[in-house]
């Protein structure tokens, strides 16, 4: 039996240097992603890259404000990610609502719904600030302090309760079925013609 704890520093180092990002522009901060990923700021130096599939990604960037409709997808995507997973929240909006503090369709405290590891100030944060946040998250991974994914598992009831409170019970099924009548109903009409 191998004691994996011995290898933990090595594993953490590997995790730190190969963070893949879920390519999900959830808000306005998404516009700073292309400069970050491309030649100017070049995040690939840190072994990071945007990845279309959440199944292969480690880092979730919440780029700005989150609307309930997006939050549903964020939660589903977040749950799809494999386990050591980290969340970085950009800017003011996920923290305390930002300029949308009174908007009926923007989440005020993201931490109630999914665990967040690192927060960056700014509206929107400059790429340098995002890189600083990423450096911070790397440090946290190395020291084993980035434990948002553990918190999500441990306090799943709390998060689930908040999510259900906001969206109503059974929102996952409802969201998936919402469009089916419109896809099928039209189709039937066409066949009749």
């Amino acid at each position: 039996m191998v004691d994996w704890r011995l290898y933990e520093p090595l594993i953490n180092f590997a995790r730190k240097r190969s963070m893949w990002i879920v390519a999900f522009c959830t808000g306005c901060g998404g516009i700073e992603m292309p400069p970050l990923m491309t030649s100017r700021y070049d995040l690939e130096r840190f072994g990071m890259m945007p990845n279309p599939a959440p199944r292969m990604a480690d880092l979730f960037l919440i780029t700005g404000y989150v609307t309930p409709k997006t939050l549903k997808r964020i939660i589903i995507t977040y749950e799809m990610q494999p386990d050591p997973k980290y969340v970085l929240a950009h800017g003011s909006c996920p923290l305390n609502g930002g300029i949308y503090w009174d908007a009926y369709n923007a989440i005020k405290h993201l931490d109630k719904y999914i665990p967040v590891d690192v927060a960056i100030a700014g509206c929107m944060p400059r790429p340098e600030a995002v890189m600083d946040g990423i450096k911070k998250i790397m440090d946290l991974i190395e020291t084993g302090k980035a434990d948002g994914w553990k918190r999500y598992k441990e306090n799943y009831e709390y998060y689930k309760k908040n999510q259900d409170e906001l969206f109503g019970e059974g929102w996952r099924e409802k969201t998936a079925r919402r469009w089916i009548p419109w896809l099928m109903g039209r189709e039937k009409k066409r066949e009749e013609e």
């Binding site: 522009c25 959830t26 609307t67 419109w182 896809l183 039209r186």
Partner: protein, 391 residues
């Protein structure tokens, strides 16, 4: 082997409703977690790799701006409304300011007009660079995308110097602009940048717009004709690519545009290639306009209206009435309709983003019959910007 009917019956017995699946078609949820759609979703019904039916599903970025604007003073709405169009946030600033200027009956000073025009043109150039980046990535020409993103940074630096922020400038305000030009050094830098980008445009041509692969990828997909485009409210380069020479800068001139010389590109085909070429030519023209503006030089004078109400911003009141202002953004005709009831907050603000026409009905119809691999390209060639739709 269970048949489909048996499955359906079994599901019914268990209290579920299964839909009769059709042969060979399947539903594909395209987005919002997708690189090409930018938080916007398409529900596609596919037959093999062909799209049979498409439904647009917007609303992921809806924050209710039009309602929020009714709760904030006139002036602060600038900091709010510019979030409607993220790639070129100066456009919502400008249209809102122009509408408020009209309500106030202000004639904006010449220097402010020059600065506004320059800022709008810079925004257009950087938005076109952003679009070039997107198109190159979707075509698989990653090199050109890297260039475009890097060149856009030069404009970001200029904006930063002028306005104090990289993306959300919050610069154009009712009555003028917030700050003066930092000095001649900035103008020199702008000229250098324009020269530089003009020089680099040749490389873009070589790699993207004169590339055989681009033509094979773009030619003949997403075709719309003139009548369809007009009926569907298509504006901007997408409309010009179908043969209608409609440019707000000429059709409804604002700011300094009547004094500037530029050509409006028009093509007949209306396919993705025509749209790309029209945008490319407009990019060149925008650089030319910037050169003209720099040759003109900023007129001397104040950079904003001298009005007592601009000193006590929270109590800034606007006389009752309504006004409509629109400008030509890279995506199309961007308009703002502002209603005031004489209070210190707007009574109603409606922003008309061009993508509300492009992103719903046009997409739904253009995608029918397209291949799945072409969907991102068609989206990109229309330059669909989801925040415009959702607001």
């Amino acid at each position: 082997m269970v048949t489909q009917e048996e499955l359906i019956r079994e599901a019914r017995e268990n209290g579920m409703e299964l839909l009769p699946l059709e042969k060979d078609t399947y539903e594909l949820f395209f987005g919002p977690q997708h690189m090409a759609t930018e938080n916007y979703s398409l529900i596609l019904k596919m037959d093999g790799h062909r799209v049979v039916k498409a439904i647009a599903n917007p609303g992921f970025l809806h924050r209710g701006f039009e309602k929020l604007a009714e709760y904030r003073p006139w002036h602060t709405n600038i900091a709010l409304l510019l979030r409607i169009c993220v790639p070129e946030p100066d456009v919502p600033e400008a249209i809102y300011s122009m509408a408020v200027d009209e309500l106030m009956g202000w004639e904006v000073p010449e220097r402010a007009q020059w600065i506004r025009t320059t800022v709008l043109e810079m925004a257009r150039v950087s938005a076109y660079l952003f679009w070039m980046m997107g198109l190159s990535f979707k075509l698989g020409v990653y090199t050109a995308g890297q260039w475009a993103a890097a060149y856009r940074e030069r404009f970001m630096a200029l904006f930063e110097e002028l306005t104090g922020a990289r993306v959300y400038h919050i610069y154009t305000i009712p009555g003028g602009v917030r700050r003066d030009i930092p000095g001649d050094k900035w103008l020199r830098q702008l000229r250098d940048t324009v020269e530089y980008i003009k020089d680099k445009l040749k490389d873009f041509d070589n790699l993207v717009f004169e590339n055989y692969i681009t033509y094979r990828r773009l030619e003949g997909i997403g075709v719309m004709d003139k009548k369809f485009a007009l009926n569907e409210g298509v504006t901007g380069p997408n409309l010009r690519a179908t043969g209608v020479p409609y440019d707000v800068r000429r059709a409804d001139p604002y700011l300094l545009y009547p004094e500037l010389d530029f050509e409006v590109p028009v093509l007949k085909e209306g396919d993705a290639l025509a749209r790309a070429l029209v945008r490319r030519f407009e990019f060149e023209q925008d650089l030319y306009i910037l050169e003209q503006l720099l040759d003109m030089g900023p007129p001397s004078g104040p950079y904003k209206v001298d009005h007592p109400s601009l000193k006590a911003l929270p109590r800034f009141r606007v006389p009752a009435g309504d006004a409509f202002a629109h400008v030509e953004a890279t995506k199309g005709d961007f308009g703002a309709y502002v209603v005031s009831d004489g209070g210190n907050k707007p009574y109603r603000v409606q922003i008309r983003g061009p993508s509300i026409a492009h992103g719903i009905r046009v997409i739904e119809q253009l995608l029918v019959g397209a291949r799945l691999a072409d969907v991102p390209v068609i989206l990109m060639s229309l330059d669909n910007c989801p925040p415009d739709i959702d607001r």
